[in-house]
Symmetry: C2
Subunit: 478 residues, 2 copies
């Protein structure tokens, strides 16, 4: 690798910005705050999409597509919603050369336009539940942007469901947070903490918001997916009513839930190291790279012959494999290059390996000799599949260990302040938004979530000492 | 089917608008000119996407994502391009509560922003070719809109490639038109005529535009996909240059090609009939629907048991199957309902069928008894697979026959005028844009394409009688 990569310890933020560009995940665009998702980054997003979409369909959801433009008046129908989003709006005022009578907002999220359509589609309890997801781009005018983590335009999915009862809508909200949790853990190898948002951190217009929170390698928190119970707020604002089984008019109960291209940033900052990306095998665009090695010309044909055989055998197993046939680059240079791109497993194959009827496998997550193993050609497929599973498990465990070693359960405010300098603080909280605000002012830490996983009993608020019924996870966040 | 559907003969345009809504493909949105793509319509689009995306990847293309917003100044860099698109632009003038210094255009197509990025990414001939596709929404301010065919916002893919030589770019342009042709014929069962656009009909900024043109059931033409050779026009406008093998600075040669949700409209208007949609099996969201039939309660469990077995067996073959378990609806009502939705094959299963160890298969494209066949349970999978293939082939053939019986090769202007009242006219054309314009004024017919498939020799222009080297296909178009 010719290019220099800043080390994580030196400047994590700089490391992040560099690796996202060097590994060809994304590039800056000429429009302030917008990014270009480059093919390698988009392939990662396609794999994320694929795994999520499969889960949505398995849980009975269907995809649809709603308009990009929303009349400004729609946003104003839900008071909290417009208050939350109006500072972030991009507004179309001219169309087809003419000033518009009513400005159109470029969707920052679609509860309002979808609420309008649901009011039209839902008449009877028989029309419920309505379980629809949309893959789309959204725009939120951001002043401080960062590739993948916070951009003016981003790609996401937004699920929007309507139900006949409160219980069913609450269950759906929690179920979809469960889908996100399962996705994050199994596919992205990111240990996340699922829980409830505090009142001050919830979605504009929600009754209750749920979140999965992940710890990045600089020990800051990243909100990685959210699911909202909207109660009847949007149903009342948009008149989503239905006749129930007793022929009585009722407001529907709605939910929404979203996960975005921010997940790409989460993968980068959870697993990456000073050599570059470390991608989870289940999401990696390239799972295995083959680097053929030769010195003399007469070795070339022989090595390539076997390398192509290896490629075919792995591809036949459904493994996403790439052959590095580039000329004029040393094996060492290629190793570094593929390490930077985070390819989970590298197959090295030279004349000596061929003589010994073996290949060398190198795992990305364990550096140097320790991560290398010679495998007999006869065991190629099994060994590679096992190694991919090992890497997936290994990086998950490493991320979990990191989070656990950077999380402290604290009872005193002094210890709390120290903890949030270095990671997550688990602490009793009285539930008072003012206490929460004071903590934020004094420590820059916010309540990331009130985890579902709670200890027995009650305690004393870490700041005010008042009675507390729940523990919260506090951290500085992206 | 409780709802009344206007017949095609009575009012084709009304039939179209009705069936698109009744079959739940799309709905009008509150924003003028925008539509909502409903789950059934979106599932059809997902299948179109899947088949195209597979072909793009097989031909070496990768996906990426470029920003929605484009600085107004970018469009102005290519004179023809801005002239063509400026009447159709939606413009963002306010962002984050502030008036923008430079207005942002919501992309009507992405040659300009992608050209800007390519200039950054391409340095050397080694960086070429660049073969990138994008799945995205685009906005063109349309005054006369129609669901799927012409909407202010639509979904599409736009491929953008850059090459070192003119020859390679021309080859790519033609290759991708070939991909569209293959897709239309094999997947959508739409016979299309591939050819070149005349100068007056080409894309704003292109050197040459190619198109696939289809005939709808009202005998009007629908442009269904286009591929453009852009020469060095955008390379010069955006400074996409590279050092060639002799270390000399050169402008790249670029192409672009797109196919949109309009294809959904093409499928509807090519195959639909007075009973509703007729979907090509290879794209149909539901390929087979099972309608269990019973009268007495004691028959219910038995019929459902066998029906579920049928469902499992077909699903195991990868067939997209749906069971209609709805209560309180007669079999006849259900048959009509699924016919309206265009499901290619229906499985009917009642007590008598079970006694005879058979199922009844009904094909959507052949009405009444003639389209029904009893099949022994042991041959279920093979029979269904064969029938799906037959329907696919059958509706293609029917569409081809329709087009051929509505296409006339004409030499006199009188016969020409009659032909374009009823369908396509193939006629010699002198190549003069004025002649083309006169024909359009006098007959409302435009040159749909100059087909690749040309007769030997030369002729006399159908309007002016001047010498003509090419035959063109003329028609009234959507």
């Amino acid at each position: 690798m010719a290019d220099f990569l800043t080390s994580q310890d030196e400047d994590f933020s700089k490391w992040y910005t560099e690796i996202v560009q060097k590994a060809d995940l994304a590039d800056y665009s000429p429009v302030r705050g917008s990014m270009v998702i480059k093919p390698y980054g988009y392939a990662l997003w396609e794999n994320i999409k694929g795994e999520l979409d499969r889960r949505f369909k398995e849980t009975g959801h269907v995809n649809a597509y709603f308009p990009l433009f929303i009349p400004m008046s729609f946003l104003e129908k839900e008071a909290d919603h417009v208050e939350g989003f109006s500072p972030e709006l991009a507004v179309v005022t001219v169309g087809g050369g003419k000033e518009l009578e009513e400005p159109l907002v470029v969707r920052p999220t679609s509860e309002t336009i979808i609420g309008h359509m649901y009011a039209k589609w839902v008449q009877s309890y028989r029309d419920l539940p309505l379980l629809i997801n949309q893959w789309a781009n959204v725009v939120r005018w951001e002043m401080r942007t960062r590739l993948f983590l916070r951009t003016m335009e981003f790609l996401w999915q937004e699920g929007h469901t309507a139900h006949a009862t409160r219980e069913e809508a609450v269950k759906e909200t929690r179920r979809m947070l469960g889908v996100y949790t399962d996705f994050a853990i199994r596919e992205a190898a990111i240990p996340v903490i699922p829980g409830r948002k505090s009142e001050s951190e919830k979605f504009a217009g929600a009754v209750t918001s749920y979140t999965i929170e992940a710890m990045m390698k600089d020990s800051r928190a990243l909100q990685s997916g959210t699911s909202h119970f909207l109660g009847q707020n949007f149903a009342r604002a948009f008149d989503i009513t239905f006749l129930d089984e007793n022929n009585e008019q009722q407001y529907a109960w709605t939910t929404s839930w979203g996960l975005s291209t921010r997940m790409v940033g989460a993968v980068v900052m959870t697993h990456g190291d000073d050599q570059g990306l470390v991608l989870p095998p289940r999401l990696a665009p390239i799972q295995v790279v083959i680097v053929p090695i030769w010195r003399k010309d007469e070795e070339h044909a022989q090595v390539m012959g076997v390398a192509e055989q290896v490629e075919r055998r792995l591809r036949a197993k459904g493994i996403r494999v790439e052959m590095d046939e580039r000329e004029g680059l040393s094996p060492g240079w290629k190793f570094n290059d593929w390490e930077m791109r985070g390819v989970p497993v590298r197959v090295e194959l030279g004349p000596r390996d061929i003589a010994n009827r073996q290949v060398m496998l190198a795992r990305r997550d364990v550096p140097g000799r320790e991560g290398k193993v010679a495998v007999p050609m006869g065991e190629l497929e099994d060994a590679v599949e096992e190694l991919l599973a090992d890497v997936q498990e290994g990086i998950y465990q490493k991320a979990l260990d990191f989070r656990e070693s950077h999380t402290w359960t604290v009872e005193e405010y002094g210890a709390f302040k120290e903890a949030v300098e270095e990671g997550f603080a688990r602490a009793w909280w009285c539930g008072d938004p003012e206490c929460e605000a004071t903590i934020k002012d004094e420590t820059k830490a916010t309540i990331r979530c009130i985890p579902f996983d709670q200890p027995e009993g009650t305690g004393r608020c870490v700041r005010c000492g008042g009675p507390a019924e729940e523990m919260a996870v506090f951290a500085r966040a992206y």
